[in-house]
């Protein structure tokens, strides 16, 4: 963050020096390197952004900065000098004394990283009390103070709640408070906002930035999201496969990345499909209202039209009911009221009552390919089943078809006898797509299918989908929370909020102002590559 006056501790001296760090991970009965010889230097009060795709080793390095290796990992070489102490050389006890007190950690999923059995306050003050840095009373008081600084609601009492009683954004801030409790010199932020909705993310980012600035704490900020790191970091280090690609000052890095790889990372953002107006409609959802047994309505009087051969992107944050919409269409959740008609005829509401033929014509692809593929079935079995089940293909004809499908999703046939466990995330998703295509459907519902993937892979998948639509002319309902993805693939957009449709129409109409209030907020919350974006946004929202 831009040099905002001298903090309590003097700035500029080296705080952390990592030299020639090697880390290995254990899997498939043997050790193999994750990080090969990374060097890193961090000055007091400085914020360093570690960025890279999954498997780049950014989190591992973050943890190594605390002299810690995850279960199943080990640091094999190198030194981690923290304020002159080599964390790899000192005893476990010695490291323990530093952790929490002088080096703190903020984990990705606060929900999972808070102990569900204890109240927030206990956990916030635990380190301070355990390390004997403060008495309970004092610790509690300073905790409440931190809650206030982090703009947590009811700072006096929120500490007495249990983790599950607090929202995700608040938890993430509470965890920051916990990290700050001992006023550490260094905090490791490990993807602290990845699990949050964009609108929440903004607030959390803001409060984190303020507090770090206030105590001018040094920080390592690990993330895969360039736009985010651009807001938080003074310097950025790009990592790939456990090696440093390049490191530079934030602005310079954004302006002129020197490495090819970095450029490709930057490039992803630019993919955009020209929209095509609808001619006729395949699926019509009329005033559908749905609810899970006895609970509040998750869909209220929703009406959506899906044109044939086009893509309707359903955008919304968690709890907006977009996934429920998918369940209603597939028949997993029969609506309370309203009707759905498919290709002219009324669609039986519940799955059981739908004829095989209808089931075949509507297919679905999920967010987590790992969960969507049976780990005990080979790719071939996965793709073959719909062919046999729907089309009754056998023997040679089936095999030929399987070949074609693999070709369509750009995978070689030697993947056929593999199990999902042996495929990368992108490949798994391709198999899921192939499985959907096998039924040769007219409508495919894609539920957040790219959000679990790295950006480069995301792009490949999106391109694939676009191509397939061009060739086979099926319609997509594309459920996502990511505006970039929407830009990339949508013809029409439906914006949902709290189970209602806020706005819908052609992509160009929805994305260009004037927007509905919520859409405005949503769009404005999407981080931009500009380092000053957050500052400006906050100013404009005057938080």
């Amino acid at each position: 963050m831009k040099s905002s006056g001298p903090g309590p501790r003097e700035k500029g001296k080296d705080l952390l020096q990592i030299r020639n760090l090697h880390v290995e991970g254990f899997s498939d009965e043997r050790w193999h390197p994750i990080v090969h010889g990374v060097d890193l230097t961090l000055k007091r009060g400085q914020v360093l952004g570690l960025i890279g795709e999954s498997g780049a080793g950014k989190s591992t390095i973050g943890l190594a900065a605390m002299g810690y290796a995850k279960p199943g990992c080990r640091i094999t070489q190198g030194s981690v000098l923290f304020d002159g102490i080599d964390l790899l050389a000192v005893s476990e006890k010695g490291r323990r004394r530093l952790r929490g007190s002088r080096i703190a950690y903020v984990a990705q999923s606060a929900a999972a990283s808070f102990n569900p059995a204890h109240r927030l306050l206990e956990q916030t003050v635990e380190t301070a009390v355990a390390h004997g840095l403060a008495g309970r009373e004092e610790a509690n008081r300073s905790a409440v103070d931190l809650y206030r600084r982090l703009q947590l609601p009811e700072p006096e009492t929120i500490g007495f709640r249990y983790p599950h009683q607090v929202s995700g954004g608040q938890l993430q801030r509470a965890m920051t408070a916990m990290a700050m409790a001992c006023r550490p010199d260094l905090i490791i932020f490990d993807e602290p906002t990845t699990a949050l909705d964009v609108t929440t993310q903004v607030e959390v980012l803001a409060s984190i930035r303020n507090i770090v600035e206030e105590f001018s704490t040094a920080a390592i900020y690990v993330t895969h999201d360039l736009a985010v790191v651009a807001q938080m970091a003074d310097r950025i280090m790009v990592l790939r496969h456990g090696r440093t690609v390049e490191e530079a000052d934030t602005r310079q890095m954004l302006a002129s990345p020197s490495q090819e790889y970095t450029k490709t990372l930057w490039a992803v953002r630019k993919l955009a499909k020209p929209e095509v107006p609808a001619d006729d409609y395949l699926l019509t959802i009329d005033n559908v209202t749905a609810a899970y047994a006895g609970k509040v309505k998750v869909l209220q009087d929703v009406s959506i039209k899906v044109p044939r051969g086009r893509t309707v992107a359903v955008v919304g944050e968690s709890g907006s009911g977009k996934s429920t919409l998918a369940r209603v269409v597939t028949g997993l959740l029969p609506p309370i009221s309203g009707s759905i008609s498919f290709a002219g005829q009324l669609l039986p509401t519940s799955l059981k009552t739908r004829p095989k033929e209808v089931l075949r014509r509507i297919q679905m692809i999920y967010q987590m390919p790992d969960n969507a593929l049976n780990p005990r079935q080979t790719v071939e079995e996965v793709i073959a089943r719909p062919l046999e089940f729907y089309l009754g293909l056998k023997g040679a004809r089936r095999d030929r078809r399987i070949g074609e499908l693999m070709h369509m999703v750009e995978m070689s046939e030697d993947f056929l006898e593999r199990l999902p466990g042996e495929l990368s995330g992108g490949q798994k998703q391709r198999v899921c797509i192939a499985r959907a295509l096998a039924a040769d459907p007219e409508l495919i519902i894609c539920d957040e299918i790219t959000s679990a993937l790295d950006q480069i892979v995301q792009e490949e998948i999106l391109k694939l989908l676009i191509r397939l639509q061009r060739e086979l002319g099926m319609s997509y309902i594309f459920i996502t929370h990511d505006i970039a993805t929407v830009r990339a693939i949508a013809d029409e957009i439906v914006v949902m909020h709290r189970g209602k449709v806020v706005e819908q129409g052609l992509k160009s109409e929805v994305l260009t102002p004037p927007h509905a209030a919520y859409t405005e907020r949503l769009l404005s919350s999407v981080p931009e590559m500009n380092p000053d974006w957050l500052t400006r946004l906050l100013a404009s929202r005057k938080i």
């Binding site: 943890l63 605390m66 004394r97 952790r99 703190a104 355990a130 249990y162």
Partner: protein, 348 residues
């Protein structure tokens, strides 16, 4: 509504239904058994007339269905009825027959639980703390072995240890061993306290003597149940150790002991108490064999006797008590799991 209260009510309701069905099952099972109380008691000396007279007196000449509903009616008035062993002018109520036996069983169960549960938890926690260390391996192998032994085998071996204090030297077995071994074994055996191998207690037995007499049964049962609970404790804790908030605790610089006790254990209670409850139930319901071996007048043996002699009212009562114990203990387990889980205790 408070989740605990809700569960309690729900389960109690279900429990009653279960009890009702159990009573039907048991009743019909006994009805299906060959012979009846009269024939069973008269045994070889039965003659048709005597049997008939007997059946008339205790009313088992009536059709089963009628008898069942009479019994249910009694139960609803909280009357367990009277044993078939009663005679005109000499009533033996089921309650008075069961009471002392139930007390004995509870006594033994309590003693065992007081030894076994803390032991199991302690060992489990230590094993989890020093997992994959020699201690862990040792405990693991030891416990696996103890659960593998037939109950009566353990019981007899313990009895043997006590008896051998005197008889070992003289036994053939001792002769077959090398001298030094015999001597040292004998020395070891004499270190064994002279526990009674006969746990025959009655309502006049004073407390301490009672305690002394159940020593062997208690030890046997402890050996039988500790393993199960200990292993579950260990497993549950280690399971928790895989979760992110444990990593977090480590990164907060907490010591392994603190991590296990303050961060893992509180989240591991549910599975542990379930297993503990299961074993406690076993202590009350499943100890027939041990009772037989040590001639301990517990309720298990009572039920077996009653089944043998077709004393239906007693069998029914025992079965209901057993079922009730099982249900209540499980309910207790659930309550504890709820109480130890904030998510359930304080819903959003």
């Amino acid at each position: 509504m408070n989740p605990v209260a809700r569960t309690v009510l729900q389960r109690l309701g279900l429990g009653l239904v279960t009890l009702f069905i159990v009573s039907i099952i048991i009743f019909s099972a006994i009805a299906m058994l060959p012979g009846d109380f009269a024939k069973a008691t008269l045994g070889q000396s039965a003659t048709p007339e005597t049997v008939a007279a007997f059946q008339r007196e205790i009313g088992i000449d009536r059709p089963p269905v009628e008898r069942y509903f009479v019994w249910v009616a009694q139960m609803l008035h909280g009357d367990f009825g009277s044993s078939f062993a009663s005679r005109t002018g000499y009533r033996r109520t089921v309650a008075e027959i069961i009471a002392p036996r139930l007390y004995n069983t509870m006594f033994l169960a309590a003693v065992t639980a007081l030894i076994a549960v803390p032991l199991a938890l302690g060992l489990g926690i230590l094993a989890a703390l020093y997992r994959n260390g020699w201690f862990d391996r040792l405990v693991n192998v030891a416990t696996l072995t103890t659960i593998s032994f037939p109950e009566f085998f353990v019981a007899y071996m313990l009895a043997y240890l006590v008896i051998s204090r005197d008889t070992f030297i003289g036994s053939d077995f001792a002769q077959t061993l090398p001298h030094w071994l015999t001597v040292s074994l004998n020395w070891a055996l004499n270190a064994v306290p002279k526990f009674p191998t006969l746990s025959n207690v009655n309502d006049q037995t004073p407390f301490w003597e009672h305690l002394w007499k159940v020593a062997l049964p208690a030890i046997t049962l402890t050996l039988v149940i500790v393993a199960h609970m200990m292993r579950m404790t260990r497993a549950a804790i280690i399971n928790m150790l895989a979760s992110p908030y444990i990593d977090m605790a480590r990164l907060k610089g907490m010591s392994p002991m603190v991590i296990v006790l303050r961060h893992a254990l509180p989240n591991a209670w549910a599975p542990i108490v379930t297993v503990v409850a299961f074993n406690l139930a076993y202590l009350i319901v499943g100890v027939v064999v041990v009772e037989v071996v040590f001639v301990y007048p517990g309720i298990g043996q009572l039920m077996v006797d009653a089944v043998k002699s077709r004393d239906v009212p007693v069998v029914q009562a025992c079965a209901l008590i057993f079922a009730a114990t099982y249900i209540l203990l499980n309910l207790l387990a659930d309550i504890i799991s709820i109480a130890t889980n904030p998510r359930l205790l304080h819903p959003r």
